[in-house]
């Protein structure tokens, strides 16, 4: 091997050695990540194409403004900032695990890999909360001249254009008592929902606090599909990254890499994990920032 390398010292491509100076697995991981970049790129670009073809698109500051345990407080982008921080942090712990691997320090690898897994699970939990909140949080929306309570799903979006007061008054007349009761109940807890629903329609309508009521039309249908599709695909990558890291943790703990003499597998798992962080940079950019 050494003689072959010496013979062809002047040319990387004349055989006898790896022209990339990395082992096969790592090179293939790089190529896989490149192809995955194009997959995510295609998703994000199709989202961009649809956005550019629309006159109206929901403002992320309006859509993503809630934080767990703070009720109805308006905190635009606060929760997603936390998620971003968690992911950057887990990327740092991963690179520290790879660093310990270079020095053959088994204990260090186990420690930092464990923290990376914790970070990944924390991110997934945050995403689960965000999705649940979006899929179940109902907002009053003007649809076909009356108001309905709808959540952000893959087929419906409550984040359309603002509706002016005159149109709201008209819409209330043809809105069902169930929805009117919910609108009243938001600000007025003196009666239960059932009691409110039983009231005469006119009385219920007068109880609705119109000056406090912000109603929107239904938003672009594509918003939900792209949001859940792309963040879901990213979340799936995070999930599989956690599984890969878990396997690496068990293998390290069992001394597999110690016997092998090197921690190259940790480097490859690390590449995948950093890629997940890299994709989030662009998901964060496209859905939350601009």
């Amino acid at each position: 091997m050494a003689t072959t390398a010496t013979m062809h010292q002047t040319k990387w491509w004349s055989g006898g050695k790896s022209p990339f100076n990395v082992e096969y697995g790592k090179l293939m991981m790089w190529y896989f990540l490149m192809s995955d970049t194009f997959t995510f790129g295609a998703f994000l670009i199709s989202y961009g194409t649809i956005r550019f073809s629309q006159n109206f698109w929901p403002n992320p500051g309006d859509v993503f403004n809630t934080f767990p345990f703070t009720g109805e407080a308006n905190l635009p982008l606060a929760f997603v900032s936390l998620m971003t921080f968690i992911l950057i942090m887990s990327s740092v712990t991963m690179v520290l695990a790879v660093h310990e691997g270079h020095h053959g320090n088994k204990k260090g690898v186990v420690k930092w890999l464990a923290w990376t897994i914790v970070g990944g699970l924390a991110f997934l939990s945050c995403q689960a909360w965000e999705w649940t909140h979006m899929l179940t949080g109902e907002h009053p929306t003007l649809i076909n001249g009356h108001i309905e309570m709808i959540a952000q799903t893959v087929t419906h979006s409550p984040w359309g254009r603002h509706v002016d007061q005159g149109a709201i008054l008209d819409a209330l007349k043809s809105t069902s008592p169930d929805v009117l009761a919910k609108l009243v109940y938001e600000h007025n807890h003196t009666m239960s929902l059932a009691q409110l629903t039983a009231l005469p329609h006119d009385q219920l309508m007068n109880m609705v606090n119109i000056s406090e009521l912000h109603i929107r039309e239904a938003g672009p249908v594509a918003f939900g599909g792209f949001f859940f599709g792309i963040t879901g695909f990213h979340g799936f990558h995070v999930f599989s990254g956690v599984i890969v890291n878990l396997i690496m943790l068990i293998m390290t703990n069992n001394g597999v890499f110690e016997r092998r003499g090197h921690y190259l597998m940790i480097e490859k798992a690390g590449l995948y994990w950093h890629f997940v962080d890299l994709v989030w940079v662009f998901v964060f950019l496209c859905f939350y920032l601009i």
Binding site: M1, A5, Q9, T10, W12, K17, S18, P19, F20, N21, V22, E23, K26, W30, M34, F38, G41, I45, S46, G48, T49, I50, R51, F52, S53, Q54, N55, F56, P60, G61, P76, L77, S81, T84, F85, I88, M89, S91, V92, V95, L96, V98, H99, H102, H103, R161, H162, H262, E267, L271, H274, F275, D277, L278, V281, F282, F284, L285, L289, I290
Partner: protein
């Protein structure tokens, strides 16, 4: 060319440690990423708070955020993924195919934009139904 000389002298030794790999550099990169993210967030919130119309200021703010994101991507790939420490052959085999994105993004975004203009021109119902109404500001001021 120093890179060329480095290539010649390097041997096939996969389990190599990048020469510049140290903990200090990792944490420095972390702080850079964190600060860029905070700036991005500040700009994102600024766009939201100012409630700008679709004008040049808004476009410039968004452009700045995109450039900052690309900077973040560079730091993650170059330092966390150690691509910057690999030899040039490997760097090029990854980076050159990514150049396709230049065409990919421009072509499709322009296509979307052109579709919007065509629809607004020939489908007045679409234009009326989807353009943000001017009442929004006045209503919020009350």
């Amino acid at each position: 060319m120093s890179a060329e000389q480095q290539n010649v002298s390097a041997e096939v030794s996969f389990p190599h440690e990048p020469p510049t790999d140290n903990v200090k550099r990792i944490w420095k990169t972390f702080w850079i990423l964190l600060i860029i993210t905070i700036i991005e967030l500040g700009l994102g919130l600024l766009i939201h708070a100012l409630d700008l119309p679709d004008d040049l200021t808004r476009l410039l703010l968004k452009g700045t955020i995109i450039i900052l994101s690309l900077a973040k991507a560079y730091f993650i790939v170059s330092i966390f993924m150690h691509l910057g420490d690999e030899i040039r052959n490997l760097i090029l085999t990854i980076v050159i195919p990514l150049m396709l994105f230049i065409w990919f993004i421009i072509a499709f975004i322009l296509d979307g934009d052109s579709y919007k203009h065509l629809r607004n021109k020939y489908d007045k119902h679409f234009l009326e139904r989807t353009t943000e109404l001017p009442v929004k500001k006045a209503e919020q001021a009350k």
